[in-house]
């Protein structure tokens, strides 16, 4: 099981702050495809992944990164701190 976390408008479009996902996805991109095939709200959130960022176990990563050994995946828009 993978803990999947969403922030900002990704969270709003999907309608959840986080969920446990039963997945065998090898990479982040594979997980995104799995989620998109579930329901329209995921399709809406992940329509343009160039507008998204991903963190694996709370460190920024790329969409082609492996999910081996990863416990938590977070999806969010580009950060606006400061």
């Amino acid at each position: 099981m993978m803990n999947v976390v969403y922030f900002a408008w990704v969270r709003e479009r999907i309608g959840l702050p986080q969920e446990q996902v039963d997945t065998n996805a090898a990479t982040v991109a594979d997980l995104v495809e799995e989620l998109k095939s579930r329901e329209d709200r995921y399709e809406a959130a992940f329509a343009d992944i160039s507008a998204l960022r991903v963190a694996l176990d709370q460190e920024l990563a790329d969409f082609d990164a492996s999910l081996v050994g990863v416990n938590e995946v977070a999806f969010f828009p580009p950060m606006t701190g400061g």
Binding site: A8, W9, A55, Q58, L60, A74, P77, P78, G81, G82
Partner: protein, 146 residues
């Protein structure tokens, strides 16, 4: 080095007075305070969301990088989350070094990285509705300076 992520307001003046006290090797202290700006005169609230855990770790790494690169004697970052009203302080950084160029540059570096690499997201609630603040290309490009 001090990193605080909090919902409560902070007193930038009091924080600055406490910062790097008792360090006789410090010749320069620089600080920056970010404030909620009401650009169009209709902002009711700025809501700041963050990623607990990653936020603290990401800021600590940015501060560590700055400390090493500029040989800082001390550094402080405070960043708020939650609902903030116009005019409220959002965040502050302070740097202490032997000389001013290091303190200024390190503070500038910290701000550039906090903008684009610390997991915060801002939403503006105005009398006309609500919208997420979009990241600017200029903010991402600013990182290339370093």
């Amino acid at each position: 080095m001090t990193v605080r992520v909090q919902s409560e307001p902070f007193d930038a003046g009091a924080e600055l007075n406490r910062f790097a006290q008792g360090r006789n090797d410090v010749g320069a202290v620089v600080s920056f305070t970010g404030v909620v700006r009401d650009t169009d005169g209709n902002l009711q609230e700025m809501q700041i969301e963050h990623y607990p855990g990653m936020t603290e770790a990401a800021i600590a790494k940015i501060v560590q990088d700055a400390t090493t690169r500029w040989g800082l004697a001390d550094a402080l970052v405070i960043h708020r989350y939650g609902g903030l009203t116009p005019g409220a302080p959002i965040m502050m950084v302070a740097t202490a070094a032997a000389h001013r160029s290091a303190a200024f540059e390190a503070a500038d570096f910290l701000m550039d990285y906090l903008k684009s690499r610390a997991p915060f997201w801002k939403k503006e609630i105005t009398s006309d509705g609500e919208s997420w603040v979009a990241a600017k290309d200029a903010d991402e490009n600013a990182l290339k300076r370093w």
